[in-house]
C-alpha cells in the first residue's frame, strides 16, 4: 500500500523540495499540500493522508496548534514537525501535543529514516481516529 503524505509549509520552495525528496521513494505519494494551518485542517479532511509533515512557524496558526486540530479529527495520525527551529524545548511541547517527531529542516536525510520508522515495517498506517493511538 502506498503511503500518502500531506505536506504543510508556507514556503512554496520548501514544499517543492519536500515533494522531490518524498517522491524519490516510489511507494510514497503526495496526497495534498497546504500553505497554512487552517488550510491544512481542511485539506487533511479531504485528502485522507497517512502521514502529515508540518512546518512550525507559519502565518496564523503554528504547527503545534495545527497538529492539535488534526489530532482531534484523527488521534492516531503520525505527524512530523519539520522546522528551522528544532530544539529540545520545542520538541517537548510538540511531543506533548501528540506530534511524533521533530525534524530540523537541515536534516532531510535523517528525516526519511524517521518517516520509515514511523510508518513501521509491515503494518499499514491508520487513517482515522478509531484506531489505537499507540500504533
Amino acid at each position: 500500500m502506498r503511503t500518502r503524505f500531506l505536506i504543510v509549509d508556507d514556503n512554496e520552495l520548501v514544499r517543492q523540495s519536500l515533494r522531490t525528496v518524498l517522491q524519490a521513494n516510489p511507494e510514497w505519494e503526495i496526497a495534498g499540500e497546504a500553505s497554512n494551518g487552517q488550510e491544512a485542517v481542511a485539506v487533511f479532511q479531504t485528502s485522507r493522508p497517512n502521514l502529515v509533515i508540518l512546518d512550525f512557524q507559519m502565518p496564523g496558526m503554528n504547527g503545534i496548534e495545527t497538529a492539535r486540530r488534526i489530532l482531534e479529527i484523527a488521534p492516531a495520525m503520525p505527524i512530523v514537525l519539520f522546522t528551522q527551529h528544532a530544539s529540545p524545548e520545542l520538541e517537548k511541547h510538540a511531543l506533548s501535543a501528540g506530534i511524533r517527531s521533530v525534524v530540523s529542516k537541515t536534516d532531510t536525510f535523517p528525516m526519511v529514516g524517521i518517516i520509515e520508522a514511523l510508518l513501521g515495517p509491515s503494518e499499514p498506517p491508520a487513517t482515522d481516529g478509531k484506531k489505537d493511538k499507540s500504533y
Partner: protein, 366 residues
C-alpha cells in the same frame, strides 16, 4: 508651560489694605495675582487654580495662617506649593520654626521691604515654572523611551521573521536538495561526493548561524509557545556560547502572560545574562521566576561574580550594542508598573524585578 507663561500667586490676608499693598509690590513681576480675604476663600481658590506661591498672613480670624498651611499640605496636589508667611506678631524663633515645620519656604516679618518680598516671590514663581517644564519634559521623555523600546522590539521581531521567511527557507531548501543528492551520492565520482558532503555540512552551519541570529533578535518560541520555553532555550544557547553554567527555575503554574510582559521579561533576562558574561566574571548564573503575592510576579537573575564596581555602573547603565543597559531594563519594568532592584557586592550581583502579573487573558489575547 513655556518660559514666558505666567504663574498664579495667591495672596491671603483678612485686611484689604494689606492685600492691596502686596498687589502693588508684586505687580511688576508680571504674574497673575489672586486675592483671598480669608483662609476659607484661599482653600477654595487653591482647589480651582494651580498656584505657584501662597503668600499669607499668620494672624487671621477663623482659620489662621498655620492652620491653613496644615490644610494645604494635607492635599497631595499642594505638598510642594511654596508658602511664604508674613507676620507682624509671632516673631520668635519658636513661631518661625512652627511655620517651617508646616512647610513654609520663608517667613517675612513686618515692616515689609518691597524689593525683598518681590525677589523672594520671584524666585519661587520661577522655580514653579521650571518644575512644571521639567515635569512635562520628563513625561515626554518617558513616553518617547517607551515608544522606542516598543519599536525596537517590533523591529527585531520583523527582522527575525524576515530572516526566517527568506534566507532561512532558502537555506532549508538548499539543505533538502543536498539531502536528495546525498541519497544518490554513490553515483558521483569520489571528489564530487566529497564536495557534496562538505556542502551539506556548510549549509548546516549556515543554517545554525542564521538561526542563532534570528533567535537572539526575537525568539520564535516566545510568540508561539510562551515565555518559559523561550527562556529555557535562550539560557541553553547562552550557556553553550559563553561557557557559563545557567540554572533556570521557572514556576510551572505561570501561564501565558500579556505579550508586552513576556517580551519585557525575556529582554531583561537577555540583558542580565549579557552583563553576567561581559562584566561579572562569574562561572554561573541563575534565573528564577515565580508568582509572588497579590498578582505580582518576581524575576530574579543572580551571579557569583565580582559585583558591579562604580566605574562599571556608567557603561552598564548605558548598555551595549546588543541591549539598552540597566536604564533600559528600568524603563521596561516601570512601563509595566513594576520595580527593579539591583544588589551587588564582591560575592555577586542579583537583579530582582517585581512586575504585575498581567496575563494574556487580561488583555484579550487568545
Amino acid at each position: 508651560m513655556n518660559e514666558q507663561e505666567k504663574v498664579n500667586i495667591l495672596m491671603v490676608d483678612d485686611q484689604p489694605a494689606k492685600l492691596l499693598s502686596y498687589e502693588v509690590i508684586l505687580k511688576e513681576l508680571n504674574e497673575n495675582l489672586i486675592k483671598a480675604h480669608s483662609g476659607r476663600e484661599a482653600l477654595d481658590l487653591l482647589l480651582k487654580n494651580e498656584i505657584a506661591v501662597v503668600l499669607m498672613d499668620v494672624s487671621m480670624p477663623e482659620l489662621d495662617g498655620f492652620e491653613l498651611a496644615d490644610m494645604i499640605r494635607q492635599h497631595p496636589r499642594f505638598q510642594k506649593t511654596a508658602i511664604i508667611f508674613i507676620s507682624a506678631v509671632h516673631l520668635t524663633d519658636v513661631d518661625q520654626l512652627k511655620a517651617y515645620q508646616r512647610g513654609a519656604v520663608d517667613y517675612i516679618s513686618v515692616p515689609i521691604v518691597p524689593e525683598l518680598l518681590r525677589a523672594k516671590v520671584s524666585v519661587f514663581a520661577d522655580l514653579h515654572r521650571k518644575t512644571r517644564q521639567m515635569e512635562v519634559l520628563n513625561r515626554e521623555l518617558r513616553s518617547l523611551s517607551a515608544r522606542l523600546i516598543a519599536m525596537q522590539d517590533e523591529e527585531r521581531r520583523h527582522i527575525a521573521r524576515d530572516l526566517h521567511d527568506s534566507v532561512g527557507q532558502l537555506v532549508a531548501t538548499l539543505s533538502m536538495n543536498n539531502g536528495l543528492a546525498l541519497m544518490q551520492a554513490e553515483k558521483l565520482t569520489p571528489p564530487a561526493g566529497e564536495a557534496l558532503r562538505q556542502n551539506t555540512e556548510l549549509v548546516k552551519q549556515l543554517s545554525k548561524e542564521i538561526r542563532t541570529i534570528s533567535h537572539l533578535l526575537h525568539p520564535p518560541l516566545l510568540d508561539e509557545i510562551g515565555l518559559l520555553p523561550a527562556i529555557k532555550l535562550f539560557a541553553d544557547g547562552f550557556a553553550e556560547r559563553s561557557g557559563i553554567q545557567v540554572t533556570v527555575e521557572l514556576s510551572p503554574e505561570l501561564g501565558r502572560l500579556a505579550p508586552k510582559v513576556e517580551i519585557s521579561i525575556f529582554r531583561i533576562v537577555q540583558e542580565c545574562l549579557t552583563n553576567v558574561y561581559r562584566h561579572s566574571g562569574s562561572k554561573t548564573a541563575a534565573i528564577k521566576i515565580w508568582p509572588s503575592d497579590e498578582k505580582m510576579l518576581t524575576l530574579q537573575v543572580c551571579d557569583q561574580g565580582k559585583g558591579i564596581g562604580v566605574e562599571r555602573r556608567v557603561s552598564m547603565s548605558l548598555g551595549t550594542n546588543n541591549g539598552v543597559g540597566l536604564s533600559g531594563m528600568r524603563e521596561r519594568v516601570r512601563e509595566l508598573g513594576g520595580t527593579l532592584e539591583i544588589q551587588s557586592n564582591g560575592n555577586g550581583t542579583t537583579v530582582t524585578a517585581v512586575i504585575p502579573e498581567t496575563t494574556a487573558a487580561t488583555v484579550g489575547v487568545s
